[in-house]
Symmetry: C2
DNA sequence: TCCATTATTAACGCAAATGTTAATTAACGT
DNA sequence: ACGTTAATTAACATTTGCGTTAATAATGGA
């Protein structure tokens, strides 16, 4: 499994995040269609897709001369699992008692 | 609210991710204590803390000459909310029907 | 076969990120 | 006031990231 920081790095760029959002809301798309997400050249998009692919965030399937991309569910699952593993921290009401328990010193 | 790509960028570095993990599991810590997460200089840690702070991932409170850092729950909540907003995609059983619905063309 | 289409890889320039050491700021204790 | 501790800011070198245009690769149709 891809380390979380690498997954985050892939999603840290506006263009790449927009690509992923588009794939999530509209489903699988070709590289050409994904070029619409930002006013940059096709080679630039291609490199962003490579970064996302190498981080395991998206999958690619070849169909003729086209490359069809889709989000790898595992990537989102991994991020979700991380937030959930710390859910007690951020989901609580964060009253004074919890903050005290959270701090280094015991009460 | 901080844009998600900026939050991800803050968490995209191994050292910064380690800092956040430590704060999440052990609670608030001083800059000095957080230096232990990686074999780099104190100024380097200080800059990482600044990146995390400016991205809204951590909070700082001053106590004498010490700076005490803690994770800002809102940051984790925002990441969690994003994954949840796309939960139908990654949580499903991903059988052929769902993949078909997910793809561009209608069935 | 030849050409158009789709996409990537190559080569390059520039800006941003990350590390170092040295210098500075601020609070505390004697 | 002075020295110690805690942390940051300054200045600098090096690496990484992201964009461009030009060149290459691969498929499909006339």
């Amino acid at each position: 499994m891809t380390p979380l920081p690498e997954t985050f790095a892939a999603l840290a760029d506006d263009t790449r995040f927009a690509i992923v959002e588009r794939l999530l809301t509209e489903g699988a798309r070709t590289a050409g269609e994904l070029s619409e997400v930002a006013p940059i050249s096709a080679p630039a998009i291609s490199r962003h897709l490579k970064v996302l692919r190498e981080a395991g965030v998206i999958d690619q399937r070849v169909q003729g001369t086209k490359r069809i991309y889709s989000v790898n569910p595992e990537a989102l699952r991994a991020i979700s699992a991380w937030t959930i593993s710390h859910r007690a921290f951020w989901e609580g009401s964060l009253n004074r008692l919890e903050q005290a328990l959270q701090s280094k010193e015991e009460i």
